[in-house]
Structures are given as structure tokens and as C-alpha cells.
Symmetry: C2
Subunit: 347 residues, 2 copies
């Protein structure tokens, strides 16, 4: 094979939490192909600033972590930023604008970004306009939202002549995930605390409604009505995770459901269960249609790794995308981005 | 909702065998949305020529079937042709060129077209050049090749950080499929006849190697070596289908395997079993990677309907594609094309 002569894609990692660290490590690994290069890293955590990425993520890299995003972006002029700082679009709008203004495309894990047009139409419009003006593409993705409960559901309909409804179930053993996710699903708190925090808002899984909207959009179906519910899953017996212990009667996690209606029918139904001790994790898509489709990922899709995968796999697709704010249905068939290194360097 | 004001996509159906009839019927059904219009139909079968499509496919349409492709294409100037005449690219090259020269994009069920660059590089180059010159897109698709053993396998890797191998198994109960397919897999013949016909070539499933190449291409992996085998599946007891009876000891169908190697490893393995009496049909993708993925479509994907679905679902994607000879990995996330009619007209 002739070596790829194209210049490597210059990547900045913006945010070095658990997902950002995973993404940076993966970019460094794939950079051995010559197709990618990690050229900058941004984080505000004083424990990380001024250290090398190598030190922070446990890999080989002399890139120094900086808290000054503006400066990093101006200095290194990346082609693309992997952005992993917050779930909520209003909180990251300025960060995304920084990247876009610096001429970088953005792949973000912000859970409100995979389908932002309804919840944040103003921000969406602004990001779209700015991206087009700067000739870059911006997308929000991850395993969920971005794949397990939306893209996979759409793909399941890809050979149907008709679809009457789509039902997606994702059951995750939160006990195998990182601590922030266990906290996010309320593992260990009382049902009263759960209900109280739920009423205050901002609790539970962010992005389920974004997945719902993405599926409806992908099928070309207008949402006439939508319903959403979030309930605690209560531990029946003690559950221990590497990070915490949930006594029986306490909250093990969430059951988060979102449904979309058309002509009075429930046409898309998403059911997300994330709790510690879930014994039978699965991602399951049932399409009532012609032909009917019953698609399951047995054992489920392991979320932390998969979100890192989704972000990094989007790199070549976003680099080649039309400028603007993009969503999953704008991009080609998702697949692993495997610049040619795996077997060469494997023993 | 505001009605879609765009002009409908003008479609010609080229070929009215079982798949073409299904496609024409589906186009007519979706045409009720105003997004599509069936404007012509081509077939050489004297039993169909000069009849209306309505008569031939059992639906409402006054479009008259013609055997003169050139004339139909010149008269109706379609935006797009659904082409379903033959499995082999050299046999359809001239038909595709007719369509392209008439300024129509093409979605074809020709099994050698989903990845034609290696088997027919000259034809592929020619079609690509002509398509670009005429500003149209051409693609080969269907359920297999085009989805079950290639696109679905790629999608399964979409959230992986690394992939070491992909194994796809498709087990089809050919007894539930149309007669030509049962004949194609050799149902009812003796093992000797099977081996004889296999040696003469052109026997078995067309397109498995195309799927293999598509998966390898999608993962960015060069094929260093490829192996292919076709063996009969022998009936252990009598199998009856609506069309034929297979006595024990006769051929029930095929087991067709294709493998691609990289650095001495089998990295993609496709295993297609199509035989009458298969009791546990399934489409199964196993990704050895991070995270590992075990994805199954329980009961399998029913092929005849699914091929029709794949062809028609590609319509909006091909209309919006960049001109040229396209493959599945160039197109967006596959999903059902559902112009807004289903519930309105359903009781």
C-alpha cells in the first residue's frame, strides 16, 4: 500500500474529564497512523493545567494542557476540536463559538447538541450560521444520544418498506460505568431525595428527548405530542459497585422514558434503564413494519468506551461534512475509524 | 404541517421481475405523499409490454410498460431510475449508461454494483465518469449485498475504539422466499448437479465478495488475501416449500463463505447460509473490538421485502448525493423513506 500522503488532521481536545481523557488517548493511538495529530489540550482543572497530556491521560504526548482555550485555538489552529465539557448546550455555546471562530470543526459530547433545533433553536441557528460562515462543521454525538437509541434505531428501519412504530430499550448496568454516571442516575440516594432532585430538574439522563427528536426527524415524522417520564429503579437487594454500595430500598438508578405521538399513536418509544446491578444489559430495537425488525445488541453497548469511539469515529466524517451545524442523519454510515495501525504494531 | 411544495421525484421502474414489481408498487404507494411520481416502466417481457403498470403490479397506475428503454427515458426524463434487471454488471452496463445519459440517477439491484471497483474496474470507471459528466448519482444496493452483511456490519463498529475482526452470519430460510431464489440456491438438485453447476461458475449467491469488499473499504482496511467457498447444504429430511419439495439427501441450499485477510489474520468473515427449511433464520454481526459488539436481527431480515425497501429508501439519499458512482459508505445513515402518508390513510 502507498502511504497516505495527506497532511494529518490536527486535533485539539477540549475538556479532560473521563470521556475527554479517553478521546485524547484514542487520538494519540490513532495518530501513530499519521492521519491524525493531537496538537492541543484544554481544561480548567488546576490539577491538569500545565501538565503534559501524556501525564494526564497516561500516554506519550508532550502537548501541554492549557486553561486558555482562546490562546490554544489561535496558536495551534486545529482542523477539529473534540469537545467534552458539559451536557447542556447553553453552558457550552461560547466554547463552541470559540472553536468555530478559530476555524475548527467540532465534535462534541454535549448531550443537547445531537438534535438542538427544538430545545435551543436560537443557539442552533447561531451555531449553524457561524459554522457556515467559517466553513466548518459542528456535530453532537456519543453513544447515547448519538447512536444506541437513535442512529441504531434508524438503521434498523433501513430496509423497511413501511414503519408503523419503533421501540428502543437500552438497559445499562450503571455499576460497570464510571462514578459520575452512577451519581447521575442517583445510585445510593433515597427515593425521596430522588423525587426532590427530579422536581428541581436537571436530573437523570440528558439527551433522551434529543434521541427521540432525531429518530422522528430521520423518519420524516412530525412530532404531534411528546411525553416523558423519569422514575427511580429501587434496589431489591444490596448492590456493590467499585465506587459505592446501594442498600436495598435505596435508588439503584433510573427508568427514563420518552414517547412521540403522531395522529394519536405512539410511534417512537424510547425506554432507558440505567441502574447499578442491572443483570441483563441490552440495546434492543423493535420495528413494527414491513419487514418487522427485532434487533438486539446482546450485553448492551458499553457506554464509556462507546462514547469515546463515537466521538473519534466521527472525525473523518465531520472533516468531510458540509459546513454547518450537522446531525447524525447528515453523516455517512457510521463505522469505526481505523487508520492503518492496528495489526502492524500488534504482536 | 405545511405541505411539501417541492416537485415530486420522477421515477422510472426499469425491470418488472418480482423485485421490480415490488419496487413499482411501493413507489406508487409512497407517491400518494406527493413526494414521488412513477412516470415510466420498462420491461422486455411480452406478457407485460403495453399493459399498464397497474395491471402488471396489481395497483392503480396508468403508466404503460414499454420495452423501448431509450424512448421511455427520452420522453419522460425521469429524475431517477430504479433498475432491477440482472445480477451481473457487464450485462447491465448499457442499461445503466442509457439511464445516466438520459440525466437520471440510478438505484440498481445489480449485485455486482455495490462495490464494483475490483471486479469490474473498467465499467466502474466508465460509470463514474459518465455519472459525473451528467450530474447524476448511481448506486447498487439491496438487502444483500447492500445492508445485511455489509452496512449493518459497519454500523455495528460505529462506536468501537478498535476493531480486530468482524464476523457476519446470515441464515435465510429460502423456503419462505420467491421461487427464483430457491432455484438460485440449488434447492432440490443433487449434490453432483450442484458441484457440476458450481464448477461451471455463476452459481450461488452473487454479491458476497462485494459485501466483503465494502466492509473492508468501510473500515479502511486493504485486502491482502481473500478466500471464498461455496458448499451445498444437504436436506436431512424432506422439505416442502410453496414451490417445490426437496427429498432428503438432495441439496437444500448453499453455505457461501468469504473471508478477507490482513497481515495474515482473518479480519472479516462473511457466512451466508440460504437453504429451504432453515429453522433459525438470523442476521448476526460479531465485532471483536472495544467494546465488543454482538448484534443480531432475530428471525433474520426477510429478503424480498427488504430489497425493495433498500432500493426505495435510497431514493432521497441518491437524489441528494454527489454525482458519480456511489457506494453505501458515501450515503447517510440508512433509514426508511416515509413520506407522510402512512397514518393519514390508515384506518
Amino acid at each position: 500500500m502507498v502511504a497516505d500522503k495527506k497532511a494529518p488532521i490536527r486535533v485539539v481536545q477540549y475538556g479532560l474529564g473521563p470521556i475527554g481523557i479517553g478521546a485524547a488517548k484514542l487520538v494519540l493511538e490513532k495518530a501513530r497512523s499519521g492521519r491524525l495529530e493531537l496538537v492541543g489540550a484544554i481544561d480548567i482543572d488546576p490539577a491538569k493545567v500545565n501538565k503534559t497530556v501524556g501525564e494526564v491521560v497516561g500516554a506519550s504526548s508532550d502537548v501541554v494542557v492549557s486553561s486558555d482555550a482562546e490562546k490554544v485555538l489561535a496558536e495551534v489552529q486545529p482542523d477539529l476540536v473534540i469537545h467534552t465539557t458539559s451536557s447542556f448546550l447553553p453552558q457550552v455555546e461560547e466554547q463552541l463559538i470559540q472553536c468555530i471562530r478559530a476555524g475548527a470543526s467540532v465534535i462534541s459530547s454535549t448531550e443537547e447538541l445531537p438534535y438542538p433545533f427544538d430545545r435551543h433553536p436560537g443557539i442552533a441557528k447561531n451555531l449553524d450560521t457561524l459554522s457556515k460562515k467559517n466553513g466548518v462543521a459542528v456535530i453532537g454525538t456519543g453513544v447515547n444520544p448519538g447512536y444506541a437509541m437513535d442512529v441504531l434505531a434508524l438503521v434498523a428501519t433501513g430496509i423497511c418498506t413501511d414503519v408503523r412504530s419503533v421501540t428502543v430499550t437500552r438497559r445499562v448496568d450503571a455499576g460497570l460505568r464510571r462514578l459520575p454516571l452512577q451519581r447521575k442516575v442517583g445510585a445510593g440516594i433515597t427515593v425521596d431525595e430522588f423525587n426532590e432532585r427530579h422536581e428541581r430538574g436537571g436530573f437523570g439522563h440528558i439527551g433522551l428527548v434529543e434521541s427521540l427528536r432525531l429518530v422522528m426527524h430521520g423518519l420524516g415524522w412530525p412530532i404531534e405530542k411528546m411525553s416523558e417520564s423519569l422514575r427511580p429503579v429501587v434496589a431489591e437487594s444490596e448492590v456493590r459497585t467499585p465506587y459505592l454500595t446501594v442498600p436495598p430500598g435505596r435508588v439503584a438508578g433510573i427508568k427514563h422514558t420518552a414517547k412521540a405521538y403522531m395522529d394519536g399513536h405512539i410511534v417512537v418509544s424510547l425506554d432507558l434503564m440505567m441502574y447499578v446491578g442491572a443483570s441483563d444489559p441490552v440495546d434492543h430495537v423493535v420495528v413494527e413494519g414491513d419487514p418487522p425488525i427485532d434487533l438486539a445488541v446482546q450485553g448492551g453497548i458499553f457506554g464509556d468506551t462507546a462514547t469515546v469511539g463515537a466521538l473519534v469515529n466521527a472525525i473523518p466524517q465531520v472533516i468531510n461534512a458540509l459546513p454547518g451545524l450537522r446531525i447524525a442523519t447528515d453523516l455517512p454510515v457510521p463505522r469505526c475509524f481505523l487508520p492503518r495501525i492496528s495489526y502492524r504494531t500488534r504482536s
